[in-house]
């Protein structure tokens, strides 16, 4: 059992050992070990040519990553948080995502940008956002959101080996979560969801930390005789619709759970795909649980109220399963 932080660290260390083209840069990645300590010790072991600090300029970090990737390296750039990816959005959306397509496939952009998303650590509105839907919207990018240590390791290794630009979004509250992680070569394919818990009554579709919230709700519901199946999307783009559909065809009901805002969100996309592909299998409307649509408050009680929890999931599930006849 190791932590999510350690699992990511192992992935970086193993890939750097395997492929000398892999290099890491970002703010404070050397001495401080990165914003959340994931790169701790790597500079010492691999040298400061392969692990080096960047200026506090996210556009530069992402732009350098694009250039390095086009030039044949495998950069893993770290942005302190996903919120600062807004400063790098032009490099990510207009360059990383477009280069291969605009230049007739002459070159690819095999970069990984690691960033932390999500709220719940009292970092206030501008440092707590779940911006993954904005980036998952963009063709040409891959967006990955691991929920467990094992998926963190397996997806990061796959992301580094992938020839397309991958935005790898970690969650601020997951770093200390422990889980079983296979040692050595453990790859989780990009664009493949996983059924994290089997059930027959309803499908909960979640990703990142909300997967754990969905699993917690499923355990509690199970005590009341309701068996929820939990599908962890793991990748938001490419999106594995088939795993979701197979589950809904079994349970006939679906609830999406996301920390990001509701409007134009991941849940909306999932719900739309389900009704397009599996309309005749539905026994209830698809519902969405999402973060409350406000800039996330700093005050702890308000922050907690704005982020979905197991109670909210349970309530929605019960409403979806409700019968008017008693």
């Amino acid at each position: 059992m190791i932590t999510y932080r350690e699992a990511l660290h192992h992935a970086l260390r193993e890939e750097m050992t395997r492929d000398e083209r892999v290099l890491i840069f970002g703010e404070d990645v050397v001495a401080y070990g990165g914003a959340y300590g994931v790169t701790s010790g790597l500079a010492k072991d691999f040298g400061e040519k392969r692990v080096f600090d960047a200026p506090i300029a996210e556009g530069v970090i992402a732009g350098a990553a694009v250039g390095a990737a086009m030039g044949g390296l495998r950069p893993v750039a770290e942005l302190m948080t996903i919120n600062f990816a807004l400063l790098a959005a032009d490099q990510i959306i207009n360059h990383a995502a477009k280069v291969m397509h605009m230049f007739g496939g002459q070159m690819s952009v095999p970069l990984v940008i690691r960033a932390v998303g999500g709220g719940g650590a009292q970092l206030a509105s501008t440092h707590s956002q779940s911006l993954e839907p904005m980036f998952a919207h963009v063709p040409g990018l891959k967006v990955v959101t691991p929920a467990t240590p094992a998926d963190g390791k397996g997806l990061l290794k796959s992301a580094i080996r992938d020839d397309d630009p991958v935005l790898f979004i970690e969650h601020a509250l997951l770093y200390r979560v422990r889980g079983e992680v296979p040692e050595g070569e453990h790859l989780v394919p990009l664009g493949k969801a996983a059924v994290k818990r089997e059930g027959k009554d309803i499908t909960l579709v979640a990703y990142s930390r909300m997967t754990l919230v969905a699993l917690q709700a499923a355990d509690l519901l199970s005590q009341e005789g309701i068996e929820a199946e939990v599908v962890d999307l793991r990748s938001l783009r490419p999106l594995d619709t088939e795993t979701v559909l197979a589950s809904v065809r079994k349970t006939h009901r679906a609830l999406t759970v996301e920390e990001a805002w509701r409007t134009y969100g991941i849940g909306a996309e999932i719900a739309s795909r389900i009704q397009e592909e599996a309309f005749d299998d539905l026994d209830a409307p698809i519902r969405r649980i999402s973060g409350v649509e406000v800039p996330l408050p700093y005050a702890k009680n308000l922050e907690q109220a704005a982020i979905p929890d197991a109670q909210r999931v349970m309530k929605a599930v019960k409403e979806l399963l409700a019968r008017t006849g008693v």
């Binding site: 005749d280 299998d281 026994d283 209830a284 409700a322 008693v326």
Partner: protein, 404 residues
């Protein structure tokens, strides 16, 4: 927004309802919460509220018509909004002869006039595959929506259904027969007949009687009412409170026998038997264990008033878990009641009567009240019922328990 108003399901055994009166007419503006119609169920007449605001654009079921639960009876929408699937033309205002309305429609034809039956996509798919008419199925999903389980339940029952018996010819009156007048059963009477007969046939009743000294309870009631705050507290209110407290201690009495198991309820919803000219109804006061006496008094007063005026709301028919029938006002010593299924027990309450009692070897006069608990022997036993009554009695003889 186009909203369909459907025949609501009120009470677990309601399968159809009759529109008695439209309180709003086509073209009227309605606000969320307005009463738009009165519906007669097998039990009572209840009011139907609008769940959205707009214009009552279309009435699909005329007064006097009976339709299954979940059937769309009206459409609310904005003034000029197109209403899908409903031809915009004047609805028949006069009562449409039943025969015409019930004429079979061509199988599978998408009748423009037919109100859309709410059903989930998978329910529709199975119905289509099985050649099933959704109108035959009662929906139990939210808003009366037909869901997969309803279809499966219907299909499971279908082959077992016996063919309808052909009407038997009226036998010629035998000679010497006493002449009589034959009256049709009202829907309420039909329900009472069916449910009470079922109760006596299925549930083995046993009875335990106890006599309670009501002196202190009456004193407390007088004292509380003298304060002049809130609704006047009746003896029935005190009985409801005492029963709720007792049921908390005896969950096995707050239960049902269902499918070979005992269902112990987590809520304590007490039905209060109310005699109407048309027959007996039992509106339910939910969560009595969580309500102080004053609140019970206030809510019970409103509840009984609504029952008497035929204005019961959907929530008044939440399933009960226990019933109190008080005939005290009719000068009865005691009586036994039939259990209101699927509940496990009913308490029959007689009048408070000054009776001689022996206290410490001396005969004194005290205000006494006899109560008889009828209980379902499948669920509970005599000893439990006896202990139940002991506690019930204690709460009333030391009535500060009721306000503590």
């Amino acid at each position: 927004m186009v909203t369909e108003v459907v025949m609501p399901k009120m009470g677990y055994d309601m399968t159809e309802g009759t529109i008695v009166r439209w309180r709003k007419q086509e073209g009227d503006e309605v606000k969320r919460g307005d009463i738009i119609a009165e519906v007669e169920t097998t039990k009572v007449t209840v009011e139907v509220e609008a769940y959205s605001s707009g214009i009552l654009r279309k009435i699909l079921v005329s007064e006097g018509q009976t339709v299954p639960v979940g059937e769309v009876v009206a459409i609310i929408a904005d003034r000029d909004e197109p209403i899908p699937g409903v031809a915009e033309k004047a609805a028949p205002r006069e009562r449409v002869p039943q025969a015409v309305k019930e004429a079979p429609r061509p199988e599978g034809a998408d009748d423009e006039e037919a109100p859309r039956i709410p059903a989930s996509p998978i329910a529709r798919r199975i119905a289509r595959e099985q050649g099933l008419d959704l109108r035959q199925v009662t929906g139990t999903g939210p808003g009366g929506r037909i869901i997969k389980e309803d279809i499966e339940g219907f299909l499971a029952k279908r082959p077992a259904e016996a063919p309808r018996p052909s009407p038997t010819p009226v036998a010629a009156a035998a000679p010497h027969e006493i002449s009589y007048e034959e009256r049709e059963l009202s829907r309420l009477r039909q329900t009472i007949a069916r449910r009470m007969a079922e109760s006596k046939r299925v549930a083995p009743h046993f009875y335990v009687t106890s006599e309670i000294d009501m002196t202190e309870a009456l004193k407390l009631r007088q004292g509380l009412n003298a304060l002049g705050e809130g609704a006047k507290i009746s003896v029935t209110d005190m009985l409801v409170k005492a029963a709720a407290k007792t049921l908390q201690e005896f969950p096995e009495v707050n239960a049902s026998f269902a499918d070979g198991k005992i269902r112990v309820y987590r809520r304590i919803n007490i039905g209060i038997a109310v005699a109407l000219d048309q027959g007996l109804v039992t509106p339910v006061l939910p969560d009595c264990d969580k309500k102080p006496l004053a609140q019970i008094a206030r809510e019970a007063k409103e509840l009984v008033e609504r029952a008497r005026t035929g204005r019961m709301r959907q929530e008044d028919l939440t399933p009960g878990t226990f019933t109190i029938s008080n005939l005290g006002m009719f000068d009865v010593d005691d009586f036994v009641a039939v259990i209101n299924p699927p509940e496990a027990a009913v308490l029959a309450v007689g009048s408070v009567i000054p009776r001689p009692v022996v206290v410490g070897g001396e005969v004194k006069v005290a205000d006494r009240m006899r109560v008889t608990l009828s209980a379902d022997h499948r669920v509970t036993d005599g000893a439990v019922a006896a202990r139940f009554l002991q506690r019930f009695k204690l709460f009333l003889e030391q009535p500060l328990h009721l306000v503590s």
